[in-house]
Subunit: 306 residues, 2 copies
């Protein structure tokens, strides 16, 4: 009688170029954690397949070892070069997408980034989060609703962005006012929110380390398209970590971390009307952005393997 | 008229789960180094495919970021944790195999490992490289020939191994005599060489870092099967970096770095004969190993892509 897997039983435990990934994966113990085994066997299989396609010389292999080492050694308490590597290779966005497969119509997720700060100041609607008085004034207003369009009152909207020089407050402690360009707003009974700020600017991710060198070698620039960050939460709904992007940023189609989704590009309307400006506490002109967030009820996400 | 690649021209530059690797790879500049572009596009394609198979949670992804960071931070001038990672995943052996596809009959290569030291002492044939007088005496003798069996005189044989405690001299500076268990021999007019030493012992790779933890989690041990290292060189021939393994080591089928090849397992014969022992300057019993090296002429290697 023939076994369905005759080769497996008698396969040599010794290294062999053709069977290399199988030889390595066969070494894992039956007692090891099943998820770790699954993860490692997929990684080993793809790693060996990649190396067989690339056929690195010893020098190229060692250049890779050096790159991985330097990337680890660039990391500090306030700099995570491996997250940056994950970001520029589209891996962070992919992991985000896999974990946030929302029903159609819900606001899509995008990556959190390294500049989120918990416990930002809570403000009443209309407050201006720009504390350093630089930049072009902007009003953002809209609604938080469920997928059927019903308002979600008391939703919490955490917003953060760079100042007009292209830096987050935490990158310029002592230079910018504390909590500049960040705040927490709450939607009203109609699901409405609004706040004031300045039009965001594009800015570069840190490019003075190994990841920046790799970006340069690939002929890519380190700039992120101009955006505001949001986390929108409400009880019973899936939290949304998302951005809205300005439509006129030259880096929109080439955001260094692939954070842009077409559905997240907003309209920014320039309002040159003294009365309208006065109503929102600005002098004209100012930018007006209307943006609604649509939340999916909790538990509607689905990853395929778990 | 239809283009052969209608989709490529109009493909969105924005991230999209299904097309994720293509979106990332399309970002590389036409001016970037073609080899770097090839390497990165293969890596990105396999990395994204692996992540789509694994579907990591955010927590798993961050555990991977942390592992990669700690592996880099474990590296020092005398400890290369990323090479260790490459070793235990079979990558070092695979790169070695790709770069040393020798004609049939030639002695196969295996990995160099971290304990090679250049400029070891040159000895005349028969010298005992064991300077600390521990272990079971061993004689190794054989010939260096070309693939047709013609002797190669004046071949240089560099040999190194652990002492009977399972450590290389460079791991125990000040404890072992300098250059203990290493030396350089030269083949005679008949291609013959011989030297004396002690039977090698298995030993663990360094397992106190992130790579050791990963090995443990996979249910694997850190031991290398007992072996002697050789580099054999002769003008006009492809240098061979290789091992010979003892046939009785329990770790032979599960060498932690996949260095064992069946063709590199030697016979170790125990000789319990006072006259034979006297002839080689030992008291009996001693181990006798006969091992020939077959060198391929230079330029016979082939990598497929270059």
């Amino acid at each position: 009688m023939q076994s369905a897997f005759p080769a497996v039983q008698s396969a040599s435990p010794y290294f062999d170029e053709a069977r290399s990934a199988d030889v390595v994966n066969a070494r894992m113990s039956d007692d090891a954690d099943p998820r770790l085994k699954q993860v490692m066997s997929v990684l080993v299989r793809h790693l060996h397949a990649a190396i067989k396609e690339i056929e690195p010389t010893h020098e190229e292999w060692f250049a890779a070892i050096r790159f991985l080492t330097e990337t680890g050694q660039m990391c500090t308490d306030w700099r995570q070069e491996y997250i940056l590597l994950s970001d520029i290779l589209g891996v962070s966005m992919l992991v985000d997408a896999i974990n946030h497969r929302r029903p159609s119509g819900a606001t899509p997720n995008t990556i959190l980034g390294p500049f989120y700060v918990a416990d930002a100041p809570e403000y009443s609607n209309g407050t201006n989060i720009c504390l350093d008085e630089k930049g072009e004034p902007m009003v953002v207003e809209g609604r938080v609703t469920d997928i059927e369009g019903n308002p979600i009152p008391n939703a919490k909207l955490e917003v953060w962005q760079t100042n007009d020089d292209g830096f987050y407050d935490v990158q310029q402690k002592g230079v910018q006012p504390d909590s500049n360009m960040r705040g927490v707003f709450t939607s009203d009974a109609d699901g409405r929110y609004w706040f004031r700020s300045v039009k965001p600017r594009h800015y570069p991710i840190p490019s003075d380390g190994p990841v920046g060198k790799l970006l340069g070698a690939m002929g890519r620039h380190p700039n992120r398209a101009a955006h505001l960050h949001f986390i929108v939460t409400a009880p019973g709904f899936d939290p949304v970590i998302t951005h809205i992007f300005t439509p006129d940023c030259p880096y929109l189609p080439e955001d260094a971390v692939f954070g842009v989704k077409r559905e997240l590009i907003a309209e920014f309307n320039k309002i040159d009307d003294a009365d309208a400006a006065k109503r929102v506490g600005f002098s004209s002109p100012f930018w007006s952005v209307s943006w609604d967030f649509t939340l999916a009820t909790s538990g509607n996400l689905h990853r395929q393997n778990t």
